[in-house]
Amino acid sequence: MSEQATPAREAAAEPAAGGGEPPEADRFRRLVAQTVAGPPWVVTVLAIALALVVGGLLMIISDPEVTDTFGYFFARPADALSASWSEVSTAYAALFKGAIFNPDAAGSLTEALRPISETLTEATPLIFGGLAVGLAFRAGLFNIGGQGQLIMGAIATTWVGFTLDAPGFVALPAAVLAGLAGGALYGALVGWLKAGPGAHEVIVTIMLNYVAFLLLGYLIGSDVFRDPDNPQPISKPVADAARLPHLFGDSLRVNAGLLLAIAAVVFTWWLLNRSTLGFQLRAVGANPSAARTAGMSVGYGQIMAMTLSGGLMGLVGMSQVLGTANANNALTQQIDAGLGFTAITVALLGRASPVGTVAAALLFGALQAGGREMQAAAGVSIEIVTVIQALIVLFVAAPPLVRGIFRLRGEGGGHSGLLAKGWNG
């Protein structure tokens, strides 16, 4: 944390620092600064690069074999550098192969498409989740309760999925709608508590996350849900008819959940930018007092925002159960997979816009898919992906930091799409 220079301080320090460095580097930096200083996506790209660099450093310092070579760094620096390089390059090459394209497996079409399929599969729930958090952001609410809403959605979906004995064209829509409703109701509760008694949505949603988590644990062990044939605490699997079909053959995991996610993107974009309700939500988010003066009901807007946001989160739970994310198509205690929190980072990175959310979800989906390959092929724990994701968001949220590190000039850097707000606001 030594390079946290604000633009102002950095500008003051620049002449001294510039004097000691080679002129090519200086010219290069100026070129970079001139061409890319302005738009916010530059900060995003640089933030991703920085996060990957920090991730690489973490791999190096945590590997005893590599750190040993640093013990005799001054005697044979090449050893340490090549060991570090091979550590990091192997890991990131595996990440790329797992997420985008694997040149070793280019023989068959299925194998060539597998990494992309994995990325899209991982991105599907993140799209729903990112839209959910983003929608609430736009209405001035911070939905930190994705975990709870997606669990409630998953519970509802699973219950319909294994009780309803019907052909696919009935069972699947019913299960999907159940997930939507489960999450929406749980979200509406938050909106109602916010609009009525004025309970802060962040506190309420944090608490409801754990209520849902404990309820899930209880239900999995209860007679209604528990699978009697399985020794593990797991629910009965949903009927085959209610599962989301694979899109490109059974060996690729990408499934119809992706199509639903795309539909959700279009719907959310339309809602926010073209509908009356969306205008109302954005007005409530931008300035509640003005919205109230203009005759809008702030409470109604908040309840609707949380209901829609919760519904989208419920679809995350739905895709976890009906999709290919878990092989059993059943409820487990780990069904949430931390997606409620990852969704927050997706929405932040996507700046709470539907299109930005898709891009961010694809990026994080790729990191997730590649992370699994990295763990399998290079032996680097997938947990590093969480670190990288968190760092990307931190850097994006603090543009002056990124500009400071890369010595870019820029206008203050705007805000991260969110206004500072306290518990009372």
Binding site: M1, Q4, T6, L58, S62, D63, F142, I144, L193, G196, P197, G198, A199, H200, V202, I203, V204, I206, M207, L208, N209, Y210, V211, F213, L214, L215, G217, Y218, P288, S289, F341, T342, I344, T345, L348, S381, E383, I384, V385, T386, V387, I388, Q389, A390, L391, V393, L394, A397, A398, L401, H415, S416, L418, L419, A420, K421, G422, W423, N424, G425
Partner: protein
């Protein structure tokens, strides 16, 4: 500054309205729950036929002063306690209580309800009540430390949702450095420092880069979970010598630890616990009786006014958030080398969020937060102790009580809950 003042005034009036209705809601709800207790606990089949509830009050066999077991007739006792609940409920409906009277009434209600429940649950069995208290204290210690961290941060105007992450890094560092160095105290210092570092990170992003603080806390939690998970898989999983089972041994304070019931629970714990007790006193006295405390509260309530009288607002916030981080780190220390448990991925398991709940439930005051943490710890301790009693109540629902209680609290049903006015709003001179 006018922009930041507007949002604080509007909800204030909303909460005032909620308290007016709250008087009816609360009284009605209390009476109904009391009646339910009467039917379910007092008149239910579990307490029929003169069943007795036996409470064992000795924690250890070698207790110097032994207390005889407390045996009560389950049915009549539960009925009497439930009637106390109903009476308090009716009192709340009939009279508008304020201040300390309301607190006393609520406390009496809670104690009677919990006692009725315990008598009912123990009916026909025996329960070691002292061991329930001991489990309460063990479960409450990290919550207390986390909540004290929250008090320091939020009283000076920085929201800290990252207590969970601070627990995780504290727990990891404590276990790792204690195992490597062989010294528990080295582990303790490392754990505190790790929490403090995360606090510094929070402080920098919140105060210098003005990142929305709830977002920041969530992201820092993810960062901490990923970092400790990664380092755990990288270093500890293959080498158990980096993650040894170690713990501070219990220090029995002479005489006091021989007191019946509370003796072993409060005076037979380890050094981290005593440090926690000292910290409670330091934070409570510091916040309300020292210059530092006055300044901290000023900075959290009205930074502009504090600035005009020469208090360095941002420096104050930096200092308090980092101090808070050190304390939360100690909470992490407790989770591993305080409890004799090795580090595991995500071992904080939401306790950082319960600590946040305790902070809010305790209305941002140190002693309030400690009481709330003890209450939540009791809910945790009892859900463990009840398992052998074969009660029909699933433990999941008992574990939910802290969270539900907090929702009721912020919804204004337990009186108005108000955060420091400038909590979460970064200070910039304009």
């Amino acid at each position: 500054m006018s922009a930041t003042l507007t949002p604080t005034t509007a909800p204030g009036s909303a909460t005032a309205a909620a308290t007016d209705r709250g008087h009816w809601y609360v009284g009605g709800a209390m009476t109904l729950v009391g009646l339910y207790a009467l039917v379910a606990f007092g008149l239910g089949s579990r307490t029929d036929d003169g069943a007795k509830a036996v409470f064992n009050l000795n924690l250890l066999g070698d207790q110097a002063i032994k207390v005889p077991d407390l045996t009560v007739p389950a049915g009549p006792t539960a009925i009497a306690l439930s009637l106390v609940c109903v009476a308090v409920g009716v009192l709340r409906l009939a009279v508008r209580l304020t201040g300390s009277r309301r607190t006393a009434a609520t406390s009496a209600y809670l104690v009677a309800f919990v006692a009725a429940f315990l008598v009912w649950a123990t009916s026909g069995h025996s329960l070691n009540f002292t061991s329930v208290l001991n489990a309460t204290v063990l479960a409450a210690t990290p919550l207390i430390l986390g909540a004290l961290c929250g008090v320091l941060c939020e009283r000076s105007g920085v929201i800290n949702v990252a207590i969970e992450g601070q627990f995780l890094v504290g727990a990891f560092a404590a276990s790792f450095f204690a195992s490597v160095s062989g010294s528990l105290w080295a582990g303790l210092v490392a754990g505190c420092l790790a929490g403090g570092l995360l606090g510094a990170m929070l402080a920098v992003f919140a105060n210098r880069y003005l990142v929305q603080q709830v977002v920041l806390g969530v992201v820092i939690n993810l960062f901490a979970a990923g970092l400790t998970g990664f380092l755990y898989e990288r270093l500890m999983q293959a080498n158990p010598e980096y993650n040894k089972t170690m713990a501070f041994s219990a220090i029995r304070i002479p005489v006091l630890s021989d007191l019946p019931v509370v003796g072993p629970v409060l005076f037979g714990q380890n050094a981290v616990f005593y440090l926690t007790v000292i910290l409670i006193a330091v934070v409570q006295i510091g916040l309300f009786h020292t210059r530092w405390g006055l300044r901290t509260r000023a900075v959290g309530e009205h930074p502009t006014a504090a600035d005009t009288v020469g208090i360095k607002v941002v420096a104050m916030r930096y200092r308090n958030v980092i101090l808070g981080g050190l304390i939360a780190g100690l909470g992490g220390v407790w989770l591993t080398i305080g409890l004799n448990i090795t580090f595991n991925k995500n071992m904080a398991a939401g306790q950082g969020f319960i600590a946040l709940a305790a902070l809010i439930f305790g209305r941002w005051s140190p002693l309030g937060a400690v009481s709330a943490a003890l209450l939540f710890g009791f809910a945790g301790g009892i859900s463990v102790s009840l398992q052998p009693l074969e009660t029909p109540v699933p433990t999941a629902f008992l574990s939910m009580t802290p969270y539900l209680a907090t929702i009721f609290a912020v919804a204004g049903l337990v009186g108005a809950v108000r955060a420091p006015a400038a909590d979460g709003i970064p200070y910039t001179k304009s």
